[in-house]
Amino acid sequence: MKILDFHAHLDDRWLHKPIPDASHMIAAMDRFGVGQTCVYTMMGFYADTPRNNDLLLERCRRYPDRLIPFVTVDPKEGPAAVDELERCLEFPEFRGIKFHPWLQAFASSMLEETMTAILKVAARTDTPVLLHDGTPPYSTTFQVADLARWVPGAKVFLGHAGSADYVDPAARLIRDIPNLYGCYCGSRPGDLAHLVETAGADKITFGSDFDPGSWELLAERLDNTIEAGLSPEDLEAVLWRNAERILRPSGS
């Protein structure tokens, strides 16, 4: 079965810990039958966001058929963040937007004007926006879900579909908010079955959260998917069909 991983990280380090290069990511994808992977920065969440966007794009260009970069910006910068987003979206390779409010140190409610402007750019360019969720006090599942209500034309993803402790609220919010989706990352088979049953298979996508130094995580997260007992159609929807439908059309 075809697999598109909607949530992974590509960088040369996380804090003090070096991360091997993208060839290790491709090797893991080959080993587990993953065709394409959406990748986000790590260090760009902390500093030098524009430079990290450029580095991510450069790394992905070595494997244009396999890696799909997501741009991030620092909304604490106000209008400059919107400009940086527009700059990056000039590159057709960037097909999604990622935020990690916990690591990036902002609550969206504190930056309503900038986040609204960013979501409007996302809506206009048909680019999905994925945010880390499941973690107080900046990234609770409820905080992320509210963003979808601010700009109903934007496609907003709970980046962990409720993570460890918010699975049930996540399932209900995805069901109730038309433009809210869930990328499960670490959800266990019992969690995934509930997400699909409640919110519908068409709004849930597979993500691994792995990086080139942690191939085991990709294997574990595929195991969680396979063991959830989904129907063949639902499995296909979460493993690639939804992601392919929702990503910014390539070449736009």
Binding site: G134, A164, V167, G186, R188, S214, E216, D223
Partner: protein, 241 residues
Amino acid sequence: MIDAHAMLGDETYLRLDAADLLRRMDAAGVDLAVARPMGAGMIVDHRAGNDLVLKAGPRIRGLASVNPWWGAKALDELARCRDLGAVGLFLDPARQGFFPTEPVATPVFERAAEYGWPVLMKTGAYIYADILALAEVARAFPRTTFIAGFGGYADMWFELPMAIRSAPNLLLDASMIWGAGIREIVDRHGPERVLFGSAEPRNRYKVVLKTIDRLELDEAARRAILHDNAARVFKIEGGRP
């Protein structure tokens, strides 16, 4: 193999009864499971929840759970559970509503110590389920074995190695934590600090066993995690390694 953490009952979207757990154990080659109640049977209706796990048959051993806010009634229920063969205490501070370090919980820990029971506590969400709060209690009761249920999954994972280091009587329940997290505890603190658990019906035997397989542990370490540690901690016989 001995599963150190299964769940019976009905909680939000999770549901499992003893017959279904036994089927899953058979399919995975698991000999014994240590189960605790979930849902109302764990949070408020202790008699029903504890009976569910304590009367589930010879291959399922029960952990008793009580809400410490019940005071003397909670201690009476623990006595009843001991007579029914409970092998330890289970607490879920986030759902039962207490800080592990606050005085209301102390008599319950004292009772577990008196019975020689290990204490499995769910850790994870920050406020009441902080894994470092469990480490505080573990240091206060050095002769009792404490098990970090779910290993702080998800976002307290980075506190796990230091918590384990800070209290020699604190062990990891590996049912929900990723392979790299398990490996770190095995490498730094030894395989005797890790228990195989399934978190059924939230997780699956197959997922956890494959995660442990990928660690490529030597035979002694594997045996400790899959069987010997649980047999020692819960004082149970049986269950081929």
